[in-house]
Amino acid sequence: MIDAPEKTFIIRMFHVHHNYGPKKALIDITLDIAKNEFVFISGPSGAGKTTLLKLLYLGEPVSEGQVLIDGINLARIPRKRIPQLRRKFGIIFQDYKLIPTKSVYDNVALVLEAAGAKNRLIQKKVKSVLRLVGMEDRLKSFPPSLSGGEQQRIAVARAIIGDPKIILADEPTGSLDEESAEVILELLRGVLIRGATVIIATHDKALMRKTGGCVLHLEQGRLEASRFIEKQYDNAIF
């Protein structure tokens, strides 16, 4: 009400810097991402893509500048509210971050358990979301016994199960063949249709072309360009 435009932007960054000790990982980033947008963050390895995502869910503290998520200034968020902030996100980590000592089922169910959902609902949702990623027959397996691609699909399942407002996907198709990558992208488009905002960090240009959307290009910690890529139908599978 006080600041109407903020409502339409779910993510805003103003002159954000991030340093790892002396290393400048992000330099003066200013950007806005509207609700229900499909955004790519591109750039070569080491450009700062993962770091940028981390700042959004407070995986790293902002060194300088302001980050607003859904109208909330992260610099002012009390410690107790951090879990609530994180539940707005569904995150597919670059290194998956599955708990190796918990079964596939428990890994995915964790999100809903942490949010206090009922056991019945959890069972139903975990099964249906694992079916979506094609892993319904592996619920009792443990992550170390799965291939990289299978782990990635579990990570996707965990990210989408809580119906988050924002999906952060860090190289979500990195270990997948083209066909499975297509399945994952289809899923992410699905959550977009249901109203979520989807942010994908990748250096896979083919992937961007396949989907189309806004691309924010990072180069050595700086935001170099932001442009719109049209969906190119020639090599689309669907």
């Binding site: 879990p83 609530q84 994180r86 708990i99 000592t101 358990e113």
Partner: protein
Amino acid sequence: MITLFFKRAIEDIFKNRFLNLVTIITISLSILIASAFILFFVNTSEIINSWEKGLRIMAYLKPEINNDGLKDLKLAIQSLNDVDTLQFISKQEALSRLKAQMEHQSSLFENLTLNPLPDSIEIRMKASTESWQKIDSLAAQIEALPQIDEVEYGQRWVGRFAQIISLFRLAGYAIGTLFFMATIFIVANTIRLVIYSRREEVEIMRLVGATDNFIKIPFYFEGLIQGALGAIIGLVILYIAFIFISANIEKEFFSGLFRFHFLSPTLLLTILLVSMLVGWLGCYISLKQFLKQ
């Protein structure tokens, strides 16, 4: 939710079998030692009480006393402080009591033509906590009476024994407190190791939006379960030891006069709860440190 936390706690205990076993064994050892002390106190104070009830002085009379003299003497003793009851035991009665007590050695009395025992008066003191201190002066006063030949109060050592016991009790409190703290420390350390071995998991839980409580509560359950299991194991071992030892001691020393008691249900429950508290506190300490980071 509670069942979920409980399930997670049980799973964690099985996943960290070794650490948990160490913790549980430590707790049960502490419980075993502490409750052995308690058991000792409960039973010794009972023995002392039973002795205290029978706290008495035997006054042996000079042989030439007559009935009137006896009456005066009884009055004189009765008027002394701390005297509860008197009982005159004639020398005939004393002899027959002795014979009854020693019926297996009755051959000893066969050649007895003259009763060697004196008349006596058994004086019971009023039961009070200071009886131990007063028995000496009371005995001296009785001995000073002209009709009295000799007094005997064999249980003077009981007083000393009681003093030693109360010293023991003090040591017991000190040792109990020490064990309490040491156990908390050990539990805190094992839980710290468990958390440390699972810091990655805890970090992931936080990243997907778990609150501190969601992460902590299973650990608390773990601490409580460890405490309960430790107490149960410690008390079962104590009970087994108690059965063996008490059966032997009762036979050897008290020939059925005194029965040892195991800890009362209230006491057992208290020990169980204290042990669970120890588990909980150990958890609390290490979690507080860990989640600050």
